[in-house]
């Protein structure tokens, strides 16, 4: 596809989605998610824990069932009918993902278990090959543990140093500090696109440009971004982009690592086994070409197919329409929740996506979670696998409501009523 054609597609998509956002039929979309029909503790389920995992539409559930009912077989090795069909479906999912994130080639899309495995893969292959004693890896203060610990392990092993770019009181990356930390010893930058605990959208385009001007490659943790906005890895020019299927309406246990061809080509393999080889003898093994070099063993076939269905589902709605709907919900919720006396929002960056973290004076988030649960409202409470952020804000935990395409203003109203109930119990 030529760049011009791509631009044209983006533009026409952009104009249709304005209309789609206006006509965004959330009630109709909710019917695609069978789980949302249930009642919890006698109340309609209000599911606001989407940053932990999203619910799955019927299309995804059906794709997985169909695979097991009609296509189940191993891929990339059978000459028989079923194997051919399963392989076709699995590879079609890869192409869907490629198109979805605008990767140049399908082989730049590697199936992994999830964001965590994607980051560990890069740390253990690219990282171990390029980071030596005295080198540095730069992350930000708002990373999820999965974008901290793999780098810590690498730095420990290599006697390298993990550097952390600080954030402001509103939860925004301090870009000046970030750029100052990019030094001659920096071998890699790893940063979240969207913070899972704060909802901050990082200026990743700018960060990547800053790093690239010093020839430093960049990995973006896109776990919290891909479900909420259109992502174009070529436009971002990131070197690696990691995300999970289950946060974007797909199954658990499947995710994607995007990497630029040239980098993936020169990287050593991650795990050894079947499928990742071209030929094996006891003297020498020749590794398979991309992407299979990084996909040892029988993969999560139904997961890949399910993720493909989730991507097609998202494409059918349009990411810009989803972003507009969620933006509306977030600003409505931000206003409503911050008006409740004794409530303080944690993470008030100008650019945010789908996450509302808050604390209540004198009330522990765990208690907020239990009381809301009795109202049928599911939120997350705790440190959100981001303990350093909690430390940064001098708290131990927050209550976090996070939104998805199927959430409504009425559900936000239910959340606000629930928070009032919390206040009553603790009055």
């Amino acid at each position: 596809m030529s760049t011009a054609a791509e631009k044209l597609t983006t533009t026409s998509q952009g104009s249709t989605t304005t209309g789609a956002a206006r006509g965004f039929d959330v009630e109709k979309l909710r019917r695609d998610f069978p789980i949302l029909e249930q009642r919890v503790h006698g109340k309609p389920l209000v599911y606001l824990d989407n940053a932990a995992t999203s619910q799955k539409p019927q299309a995804v559930i059906d794709a997985i069932s169909r695979y097991y009912e009609q296509e189940n077989s191993n891929i990339h090795r059978g000459v028989h009918f079923l194997s051919e069909r399963a392989t076709e479906e699995y590879e079609a999912a890869r192409s869907s993902a490629q198109e979805f994130i605008h990767a140049l080639k399908p082989h730049e899309v590697i199936f992994v278990r999830g964001t965590t495995e994607a980051i560990n893969l890069v740390a253990q292959t690219y990282g171990r090959a390029h980071v030596s004693a005295g080198d540095e890896v730069l992350i930000t203060a708002m990373e999820h543990h999965s974008n901290i610990v793999p780098w810590q392990m690498l730095c420990d092993e290599k006697h390298a140093k993990l550097r952390v770019a600080p954030i402001s009181d509103s939860g925004e990356l301090l870009l000046d500090e970030f750029v100052n930390l990019l030094g001659s010893r920096t071998k890699l930058v790893a940063a979240a696109h969207v913070s899972n605990a704060l909802g901050t959208v990082n200026p990743v385009r700018q960060m990547i440009e800053m790093a690239h001007s010093r020839n430093i490659p960049v990995l973006i943790d896109g776990a919290q971004a891909v479900p909420h906005c259109a992502v174009d890895v070529q436009e971002l020019d990131c070197d690696f982009y990691a995300f999970s299927g289950h946060k974007m309406y797909g199954p658990t246990g499947i995710g994607i690592l995007y990497g630029k061809s040239a980098l993936l080509e020169e990287m050593p393999p991650y795990q050894g086994g079947g499928d990742m080889i071209a030929s094996v003898s006891f003297e020498k093994t020749v590794y398979n070409r991309l992407p299979y070099k990084f996909e040892a063993g029988t993969p999560h076939i139904s997961g890949g197919i399910g993720l493909g269905a989730a991507i097609e589902y998202l494409k059918s709605i349009g990411m810009n329409a989803i972003a507009a709907h969620e933006h509306d919900l977030l600003s409505y919720a931000t206003d409503a929740v911050s008006e409740v006396p004794g409530v303080r929002l944690v993470g008030t960056a100008k650019e945010k996506a789908a996450v509302l973290s808050f604390v209540m004076e004198g009330i522990h988030p765990h208690d907020i979670g239990t009381i809301l649960d009795q109202e049928g409202i599911a939120i997350r409470t705790g440190h959100h696998c981001a303990q350093p952020i909690m430390t940064r804000f001098g708290i131990e935990a927050t209550a976090r409501a996070s939104f998805a395409l199927y959430n409504t203003r009425e559900e936000v109203d239910a959340l606000v009523r629930g928070i009032h109930k919390v206040r009553e119990v603790f009055a």
Binding site: H364, T370, G382
Partner: protein, 150 residues
């Protein structure tokens, strides 16, 4: 709402807001730290044991209403008890909050701690209610490592 009131009884809320024996104990000869890594709750229990009896006991730290009230009421009920009695009470308390107490038998010997019976309807909160007790156990055993609910 009635369910919630079973959990958040007035006595529990009151203790969570104004915990008793909430201080460091200079004379403590037993001390342990306890964590709940899932929610970040973190308490230190201090005990001054003389012979086999608990002369004084206190705690410090932070946590949810249930864990804090439980720690507060635990210190109140253990002062003056023997260490063996304390361990016994832990066993009974654990049965109470996990719903394993024999039906219709009011755990009279648990005294005021019986208000925690509502926890048994909220299985995910059992760890909150027992964190201080696990920490107490570790302190009495003289364990050096912090205990964790996980």
């Amino acid at each position: 709402m009635s369910d919630l009131r079973d959990l958040y009884q007035d006595v529990i809320l009151e203790h969570s807001k104004a915990p008793r024996n909430f201080r460091e104990l200079a004379a403590a000869n037993h001390k342990a730290e306890g964590f709940n890594p899932l929610c970040g709750d973190h308490f230190t229990v201090y005990i001054d044991v003389e012979g086999d009896s608990i002369r004084d006991i206190s705690f410090q730290g932070s946590g949810c209403a249930i864990s804090k009230a439980s720690a507060s009421m635990m210190t109140q009920s253990l002062k003056g008890k023997t260490t063996a009695e304390a361990e016994q009470m832990f066993g009974k308390f654990h049965k109470l909050v996990t719903g394993q107490s024999p039906a219709n038998s009011e755990p009279a010997d648990l005294g005021k701690l019986a208000v925690f019976s509502g926890v048994s309807e909220f299985p995910v909160r059992v760890k909150c209610a027992t964190l201080a007790w696990h920490t107490l156990h570790a302190a009495l055993q003289g364990k050096q490592e912090a205990v964790s609910t996980e």
